[in-house]
Symmetry: D2
Subunit: 438 residues, 4 copies
């Protein structure tokens, strides 16, 4: 029996132990025989630390899973069944710039859908598209499971310009919302189902069901009257205006704070950055501590400290998805995939984040009809931005990049957009070959 | 021969002489026999001044047009052919509050699509819906030609809740764009045609034709390279970032500055308000001077000073529209009307501002297909806002009003939205009976 | 523990033993405690025979399922969990007329989507709408699982005019296609998945997957080269023109023969009707034999002869659906439900037959995008017909009925439509009170 | 001053004198200086006869219009302003086969949207696509005004595969409907406006206005109660079933008889063909007589006998269209053009026949919203057929041709489709090089 071959690009990431743990836990039904951790020379040191930890974890668990470490992506991709991508082009230094530079202009960096996210897209998309070229050649039937942010734009780019068709973009935001709402209702999260629809980091819970009964209004009421946090580790815990959420009638995701509370968020981030640095700086510290832990040769499980890292549920989401595809589980998971009519006001061939039934043939979106009219504008604003960003990433066209920056709802003016753009282009020059051709 | 009966509600407006001039000029093909200027008791003094000027103008022109002044709307509406509405509920004092209160929170008031516009909608829509009730009874075949702002939301409200179906919302923005572009091209404006599409004060020129040839790129190039003003009297003359407009590929309207240059505009308005007061205060002064002029019994033409008032082309647009309906002219005019599929990403039954061929049966929208993906977000954001605002105006529901305020792209946060909303509700209490029921 | 209460309207049907068998088999996970078989006085004799058999079956199986027989629908409906409808208004005599009268005009009766189906709809829809009224009052949370044909039009009618929202229309055609294709591929049917989309008795298999791999072209090739039957008991086994199916690129259902082979089918039916009578007459004979068997007090299982009846997989489909809703199985089943954007070229609020994931909240359609352009016409022709038929059934409007008859693709001319309509109206007068009001 | 250059391909047609007359009448506003009549060697004799008549007409009228006769299409196309195509590949002999062969199978040939129309499409589309290649090279700014049938499919083909974008398909059916309805209302046709929408020879009048008032119901009532002919020279004058048309609520075109009265039409055509031959044979006789007349050197006007030919209003429609484009008339004309959202249930990039405002930039469709649900099926059936036919014509793929033939609503069965197809392919072999490659 052959078993499954998984290739994790960016395998030296601090998240990897969670992924390894996920595969170990599911080994009985999801027999991963080979896990290839691929990284780049700059990441080799971390790759070794993580790889050794992974081997110790596998050994302790007693499962016959081989851990391969390589810098040769093409060698790894050969005959893979699933390829996961968790790359960070330019590492945390680049994220720091994504967050810091916009703040200088009193603009939130927002490393996924803001100006920071634009630059993360410009750096990441060309690399992912290259990976799809290799996949088309070396493992044409494999699924690409991308968690690299901005996951929405990366999925959009692969759908439009990638050399493979089997791609899913993954996000831990909906899982987190489900957990938070279950906690609020004081029930086990398995009893809660939410119809998710929107875009990556711009997703709404349209309906919430408890044991099959629609409890959306009750949940909205609880959110507004008790004002529970309903947020994530990396997003400030500001409550919503009660009457606003009541009239909205659906549940926003934590990232919606950036759009519905822009001013408060930018003020908060400036303050925080003065105190503890931007999120990248905080993460750097956490990462450093994590890798110190990982080095410990006695450690042979995922250390609990990893939870602090912010990517809670991420690897679990990935393992669940792979498991459901492999075993045709037909459970319902919210992922980033081709819209194909699920959400009426978004183009059929664009990426959306929507509840899908996960089958052997991949995710199949469940129809939404359309989003409530009151959120169509904001959702489409981010889609407009995503589309412009993808075009810029693929072409290296300065004016497209300026367009993307200007129409981003977090950016207040075209001339500010230009200033931020110009400074960021210079700062990330090394990772933007398409913009600095000779 | 019967001739045409026109009823102008808000007839004491300083704009009326332009309308009168328009009817006089067109008398040969558009024989207006009766012009009824309707106003409310608070406006009677102005109504008399304007009415007397109108009578002198008619006399001088030698056309058999009767000018009727009345405070009894229902008397006037009986058997009308066209009803024009140019009301300002709460007068310029209300506008002053619409502009001043948001500025206190560093937010642009924007009396058409911003927080100010929301309140103008809340005050105006119930009155217009009342007028449609009277029309349904007294002149069911008449056309309602509305220029009262926010013209987009008023049209949306009449389409959804009005008692008549024949409604057109009028705006001088597209005419102004056409004039400016003709000037830029150094040709007569009759040689220029523009495909307009979008929403009121959120309209784009998708294509520009000169003598039938598409010159859009040339015009964009001229806008960006020579950075001509392309604006209106009441909107600050800030040029666009060249590369941004180039990538956008279509021509924004002057009001787009509020959205694509928000920060600059708010800073500018704060500065201006300190110097000359907000626009309402400037307009009050102009109005006062105008009415002084109008009082002059020797004046029997539209005084040239009216041009400064900011509503250039407005009455011309109205006369043109009425003329084209009456004479089945089949010329192409951009108006606010039911979308009916003209713009794909907006609901069929919503109001849009789009180039229409004007026939005896009213405006018939020319298909656009869809707006470029890069502007769909912003346009839909305003439509989301408009829809929420209409619901709030019709229901008097506080939470709907807060929703509208929060999702407006000019408002930076839900808690700021609430503060502005609460202060404005108090300030306009008198004109918002639906929100202050006993 | 309460257990499930099921109400079967038309419970005296010869199909009922299959349903009973289905519930017995699934008792462990689907504990049906009460099964109410409701019928009308004319059906009481059969109801008793079937009811007694059901009781013997339950006893033999040793499950604590109570069988209730009643003529009082409202008594039965109280607090039901699921209501299944398998009524035949006018019994098989009416079906005989549905099939025979059109044949006199050389037109296929087709008791589901043809002229016969129109009359079945006119007789059935008012009764089903009445049932939904009772349900709204007596068991508002129950699901209505309808198998009464024409299942598409009945679902359309309930969606538009019913007093409840939880309705599913069921059909055995897709299940049969899956079985036939599995047989063709020589694999177990559980390894085959088909994306179904279209309308009731007008459904296509868009893609066929074997173990997750798309084998559509292979299956098309097998259909055309080996020309296997791929049909149902009640539909003549004529093969498809090879090149036609190849160019179509998707798998038609057995009922498509009526549309793509109209002439051959009508000739065949005329011939058959001379030999063995129309299908209703054949079924009458089978039914008679079945009830003779059912009377046998020693019989305590579903007799194998029932399979000949033509409704193979029907009750299995029903039990599966109920089981999946009750247990939130999230398996994929093709059912008739509100489109909600699943198929682009059909209205959102119309009924379609489409693969759905079945959850505790009911069926959730999986997006199709759109049907291939080559079948959009035919599918929409049936939808046009269904919509007209529903309007006729609800209003009793003669001209709507003539419209439905004329636009049916099986009816060759408006004057023929009128002749058939007039003769059938008279023949079914007793069951069409809306058309013969006093 | 340069004047206009018009190229008429198929210039030897008997219709040409009407076109010449049209240009002469409009010379003052539409100064056609050069009219090039292009034909193929087989048509040279007729071309000379027609060309000489044209010259006499021009001379008599005293307008400076040059008539050029040539067999060299490319010479003619150089710098043309408008190119009209009225070609008949295979001449009337081919049409005879288009009409006769299907009748052998009791199927209407219908040389535009039936099996005959399919073959006319297969012969004509490759030639028209070749013409667009020449145009792209020799007169890239010229408009292609096509009247060659099947005009809908030809337009669809040019929109999808042509080398130019400026194409309009023209039809005399809507003009005829307008004339007939005006006659019915006993008013001048200029007072009547009809909203046309649908496909070529499958067009409906959605609304009829008299002097701007909607009189649709009145017209429907008149059609049904007085049963006036409302047809064309070449279509049998059978009235509609009163209640059917009433429920339809819109006005069908004469060609709808083929679909709503199929049986009656096929019986009638078989009968007629036995008496006078098929329409092609009748036309041949008329043509022969016409050319005898044309030869008469004393004839210097369009002879009144031409009206009998069946193409009434055709050339008038063409001249009107050219005039409106040239002079930016902005009148409303129904033409075949890119849908672009005008009719919701048809693809944006497909050809539709719809009321357009005709500008200097070409026809601009007026939005329809959507067709009434009751006709969407039939209209989409023809669009399905047209799309398959275009694919077959462009590829020469036998299976696509069989698909087109089978899904045509006039063809009753796939095996009949195959028989007709095979016989017609052989009969037209000479003109179908794509199907008989070596």
């Amino acid at each position: 029996m052959k078993g499954i071959k998984i290739v994790t690009i960016g395998g030296g990431s601090s998240y990897t132990p969670e992924l390894v743990e996920g595969f170990i836990k599911r080994y009985d039904e999801l027999p991963v025989r080979e896990l290839w951790l691929v990284d780049i020379p700059e990441g080799q040191k971390k790759q070794n630390i993580v790889g050794n930890l992974a081997r110790r974890m596998v050994k302790k668990a007693g499962v016959p899973m081989e851990i391969h470490l390589t810098l040769d992506r093409r060698e790894a991709l050969k005959d893979a069944d699933f390829v996961t991508t968790q790359i960070r082009v330019g590492l945390l230094d680049a994220r720091e710039k994504d967050e810091k530079i916009p703040l200088k202009y009193n603009v939130i960096g927002q490393e996924t859908n803001g100006p920071g996210g634009l630059f993360k897209a410009l750096r990441t998309i060309p690399v992912i598209l290259d990976i799809t070229k290799d996949m088309a050649e070396l493992c044409p039937n494999a699924w690409l499971i991308n968690f690299a942010n901005p996951a929405g734009m990366v999925t959009e780019a692969v759908l439009r310009y990638g050399k493979i068709k089997k791609v899913v973009g993954l996000c831990n935001v909906p899982v987190g919302m489900q957990m938070n709402i279950a906690k609020l209702l004081e029930v086990d999260s398995s009893r809660v189902r939410i119809d998710f629809a929107g875009l990556n980091h711009m997703v709404y819970g349209l309906n919430v069901y408890l044991d099959g009964n629609n409890v959306t209004n009750k949940v909205i009421d609880m959110i507004t009257s008790e004002n529970p946090s309903m947020t994530m580790k990396n997003i400030a815990d500001f409550g919503w205006e009660k009457d606003f959420i009541k009239a909205l009638g659906i549940i926003p995701c934590p990232y919606h704070r950036y759009y519905y509370k822009t001013r408060k968020m930018v003020e908060h981030e400036i303050e925080e950055s003065k105190k503890d640095g931007v999120r990248a700086e905080v993460v750097k510290k956490i990462e450093k501590e994590l890798f110190e832990l990982y080095k410990d040769e006695k450690l042979d499980i995922k250390p609990p400290q990893l939870e602090k890292r912010g990517g809670a549920y991420y690897s679990d989401a990935a393992c669940n998805l792979i498991n459901s595809i492999y075993n045709d589980k037909k459970d319902i998971q919210p992922v980033n995939t081709r819209n194909n009519g699920a959400i009426a006001s978004i183009d059929d061939d664009s990426a959306v984040e929507v509840s899908c039934v996960i089958t052997m043939e991949g995710p199949r979106p469940i129809t939404v009809g359309d989003l409530p009219v009151y959120v169509r504008g904001l959702v489409n604003s981010i889609k407009s931005f995503e589309r412009a960003a993808v075009e810029a990433a693929v072409s290296g066209d300065y004016s497209k990049a300026l367009l993307a920056m200007t129409i981003n709802p977090l950016v207040p003016s075209d001339e500010v957009a230009k200033e931020i753009l110009d400074e960021m282009l210079q700062a990330h020059k090394k990772y933007l070959p398409k913009f600095f051709k000779e």
